[in-house]
Amino acid sequence: MRFIIMFFLSFLGLTLQSTFFAHLRFFGVVPDLVLILVVCFSLLKGAAEGAAVGFFSGLLEDILTGRMLGINALSKMLIGYLVGLTEEKVFKENPWVSVAALFVATIFDNLIVFLCYKFFSALPNSGIVAFNRVLWPALVYNVFLAPLVYLRLYSWLTSKPKHY
């Protein structure tokens, strides 16, 4: 069930990115809500589930981007898996964990996407400039939103079912 909810949240996140956050750009950049969701989810649920959510959410992002399929699926899956490996080693109650994870994940995600575009679609040499232009504002924006999303997911995923 939580996979479906995560998938739906990613869907909502992507539509928000193209509408609401399009008006709230930070240095011309919108936040990567799917990345934030995948990282926070992986921190709480581990590598396998993180990779699965990352793959499908990334694929959805690819579809909605309307270009090559698989790039975001690949990067989000890898990020979900790698972040998920730390699940048992971090103090989950601390939202700063998500800040640190998002910081690394944003760099990693942008790097993979940049390399894939570079490799598969012959990105011009100025692509590195675009990478620089996107990365730093995206880092700030994602890191800023990370604790908000993390705390919501934490209270949802760690809440115990009610027994009547």
Partner: protein, 286 residues
């Protein structure tokens, strides 16, 4: 890190990575989207519309807040402009009305058999006991005590006191005022006295017992007694009553002039009429 090297997971991960890369490779040069992609993309449209609606509302709200200060400033400027224009308009209206009144007065003055001096009303009674007017002409302009004061419509009163530049007019409304009057239709004489009543009516006393006075008759000054010149319109009879003991009649007279709205008057500076005065336009409505 043992998990990372978990062979089963690692194999799955590698397979998925390769799969993803393959998909990227396959889809990089395709001409058209697949049906599934089209469905997924289309499914976002309603949600995007909702978000866009919300976003636009928020953006408008935000923009509205930003515009409030500007609008406030504009509103203040416009309100100021409206005040100034209203004020200007009032002044224009006032000037136009004054112009009309003065024109009427000038026409009357030219036709009048008396020599008259125009004056502005600058004040009224300071208490409720007397019915006075203060005008802006005095000794310096030739105004003397006892001179008659009229308007285009009829009799106003008499100069009661005079200073160098102003004069006090005792209006015929005042209860101490008495004018020798004449009924135009029946030629009967009486004394028109002020009542100081709030309705501003006058009483014509001492009419003969058999006087043929009726409602609507015109009352003029008779000139008897030499105080007021003859033939100045005073008002119209509103009601005829019998006096106590039935020895004479009295008539309630409505003055020709509305004393509450008087702004300009004429002071008669010579008491020698050439022909009787007749009311100018408007007295029928009094």
């Amino acid at each position: 890190m043992s998990q990372f090297f978990n062979p089963r997971r690692l194999v799955i991960l590698v397979i998925l990575v390769l799969l993803a890369l393959a998909v990227v490779g396959i889809t990089k040069n395709r001409a058209e989207l697949s049906s599934l992609e089209k469905i997924v993309i289309d499914s976002t449209a309603p949600i995007q519309r909702v978000w866009t609606g919300i976003t636009n509302s928020l953006a408008k709200g935000w923009q509205g807040i930003a515009e409030i200060r500007q609008l406030k400033q504009q509103r203040d400027e416009l309100a100021k402009m409206v005040r100034e224009l209203r004020n200007e308009n009032r002044q224009f209206t006032e000037t136009r009305l004054e112009n009309e009144r003065l024109k009427r007065m000038l026409g009357f003055q030219e036709k009048s058999p008396y020599q008259t001096l125009p004056a502005r009303v600058i004040g009224r009674s300071v208490n409720n006991w007397f019915s006075f007017l203060t005008i802006d002409q005095g000794v310096n302009a030739g105004v003397r005590k006892g001179m008659t004061v009229i308007t285009v419509n009829g009799l106003v009163g008499q100069i009661n006191a005079v200073s160098n530049n102003t004069a006090q007019v005792l209006m015929i409304l005042d209860q101490s005022s008495a004018v020798s009057g004449l009924i135009q239709e029946s030629r009967e004489n009486g004394i028109v006295e002020g009542t100081s009543k709030p309705d501003g009516t006058l009483i014509m006393q001492r009419l003969p017992r058999d006087a043929k006075v009726k409602k609507g008759d015109h009352v003029f000054s008779s000139g008897l007694g030499g105080i007021f010149p003859k033939g100045i319109f005073i008002g119209r009879v509103a009601k005829v009553e019998r006096e106590t003991y039935d020895i004479s009649k009295k008539a309630v007279v409505i003055p020709a002039e509305n004393f509450n709205t008087l702004e300009e008057v004429l002071v008669i500076t010579n008491n020698t009429p050439v022909k009787p005065l007749t009311p100018v336009e408007g007295d029928e409505n009094q």
